[in-house]
Every structure is written in C-alpha cells, then in structure tokens.
C-alpha cells in the first residue's frame, strides 16, 4: 500500500512539470502514432477481384458492390460471391472443395484456386500485403 502511495507521489512529482500545452502536444503525438500505424500498416485493402477460368481472365469485379458470378469450367459451374471488401468461392464442382473451404478472402493478394475446374479467384489492391502463391 505504501509502495502505491510512493509511486503516486513519484508520478505527481514528474507530472508537475507538464503544462496544458504539453498535454496537447502529447495528445497530438499519440494521435499521429495511431494514425500513421492505421494508415501505413493496414496494407492490402483489396479493391478488385480477378476471376480466371482456364488461365484466362474471365472477369474483373469491383469489390464495392455485392454480386454473384457464375464461372464455367470443364467440370461445371463455379459460383463466386462478391461482397463489399471481400469475395469467396461459394460453390464449386471440384471433388475436394479446397477453394470453397478457404472461405472469405479479405486481403489484397489472397487467392483461392479451384484447380479441378480451372477457376481461380484473386483479390488485388494498391499494395498487396503478401503473395499467397509464394511458398
């Protein structure tokens, strides 16, 4: 308990040197820290979904508006669902369903590949966080 009081006194002795403007400057500095971290570290917010079928670009879909794209492949039709800021493979005729199980893709550079049906869905943005095809 006395340690707590001592700590508080010690802090108060230092805080005595802070003036009103100093608080403002510190608040601005912290705001700059948070702001720069948010804007610089968010990276890879996707703005576009690139859908390929058989190696060729089938469609480039804007991620701003929700829609569903049906992509034809050798096994049947792959259904790709787009919502604001994210996209997923909703249904695929392939046997193992890897691309469907990947779920929603949310960051630029993320890719879902339905290899059996030769369909891929990739998100692209201004600055991609990572390249998910690089191992």
């Amino acid at each position: 308990m006395s340690a707590l009081v001592a700590l508080r006194q010690w802090l108060a002795a230092w805080a005595r040197h802070l003036r009103v403007g100093d608080g403002l400057v510190l608040a601005a500095a912290l705001a700059f820290c948070v702001g720069s971290a948010l804007s610089l570290w968010q990276g890879g917010r996707p703005d576009k979904a690139i859908i390929k079928a058989g190696g060729k670009v089938f469609a480039e879909v804007d991620l701003a508006v929700p829609r569903v794209v049906e992509v034809p492949g050798p096994l049947g039709s792959t259904r790709i669902e787009v919502q604001p800021g994210r996209a997923r493979v909703a249904a695929d005729p392939g046997p193992r369903q890897y691309c469907v199980r990947q779920g929603w893709l949310t960051s630029a550079g993320a890719v879902a590949i339905c290899a059996p049906n030769q369909v891929s869905l990739a998100l692209s943005g201004r600055n991609a966080d990572y390249d998910s095809l690089n191992y």
């Binding site: 003036r19 100093d22 912290l30």
Partner: protein, 184 residues
C-alpha cells in the same frame, strides 16, 4: 610607423565565459551520447537521445544560438569519439539535429505559460525523426519501405520526447532555484 590592422595569426584567441559554458555543456552532451551508445537497442534509429536533455536545458537558459552550438558540437565530436564520423549514422544524426534545432527555434516562441520543455522535447523529437527519414529516403534507402517504420519511430519520439522533456524541466527547476549552500 604605418597603422597596421592586426593580423588574425597574431591575435591570440581568448575563450570567453560563453565559450567555456558552451564547451561544458557540449562535453556533458557528448558524455551522454557515448554512454547511450553502450545501450543495446532493438532497432536502428530508435534511441533515447539523452544528449538532447542538455540541448533543451541550454535552449531554455541560454537561448537558441547556444543550443545550436552545443547540439552540433555534440554531433560532430560524438561521432568522432564513436568512430562514426562521416558514416551514414553521422549524416542521419546531423540531419535529425538540424531539423530539430530548426523546430526548437520556432517552438521556443510558443507561450511559456502553456508550453514547457516537454512540448519542446516532443516537437524536436518528431523533427528529428523527420529529418532522419528524409535523408534515409533520399539517400540510404531510396524506397518508400522506410516509411513502414514511421509508427515505431513516432512512438519512440513521443515516449523519449516526454521523458527527456520531463528530465530537462526538472533540471531547469533545480538550476534556477539554487539550494542554500549549494553551487548555483
């Protein structure tokens, strides 16, 4: 005999009290720089900058010109002592110091009622990282990737700016109110 203008060679250089004071403060700053170099730090560029406490005290007590002398002497001599003179770190340090001195020159005119050494310190620390990043971006790492570390540098500038400013404020208080029997 013709009147001769005194030659600069013959004129003896007599250090004034001001020179002595600058030298004393610069020496203190250099000691702090060297001591700080012994502290292991996780990231290049993130340093407490303890020597800036001296700059802040000199700025508050003796004015901007003298603070410039002390800060630049510290940069040059500190880098010579550490074997960093003309190395990249020296130019980063010089750019940071020049930027923060420029900002201090403006910040010292803020109303004293509201803005104390802590404000000066935090603003100077931000100017310091600004100057360093500018040199780093233009010359050492010509890629926007250096700005990725801005939040880390900004946080360090805030924390160390606060700490250095508080220490400077306390030193100033102790200096301006000489204790009875103590030296002024």
């Amino acid at each position: 005999m013709p009147i001769m203008t005194p030659s600069t060679i013959e004129r003896p250089i007599i250090p004034t009290a001001d020179d002595h004071r600058v030298a004393r403060h610069a020496a203190a700053a250099i000691v702090l720089t060297v001591a700080e170099a012994a502290i292991p730090l996780p990231l290049p560029g993130v340093k407490p900058g303890l020597a800036n406490i001296v700059t802040l005290v000199v700025l508050a007590r003796w004015g901007w010109r003298e603070a410039v002398w002390v800060a630049l002497l510290r940069v040059f001599v500190g880098s010579l002592v550490l074997g960093q003179f003309l190395a990249p770190g020296f130019f980063l340090s010089l750019a940071g110091s020049l930027a923060s001195l420029a900002v201090l020159g403006a910040a010292m005119h803020l109303p004293k009622r509201w803005f104390g050494p802590v404000s000066h310190s935090v603003l100077a620390a931000f100017a310091h990282i600004g100057g360093q990043l500018l040199i780093a971006r233009l010359w050492l790492v010509p890629h926007d990737g250096v700005f990725y570390l801005v939040p880390v540098f900004a946080l360090a500038a805030t924390v160390f700016g606060l700490v250095n400013g508080l220490v400077a404020a306390r030193l100033l208080e102790a200096e301006l109110a000489p204790p009875p029997g103590g030296r002024a």
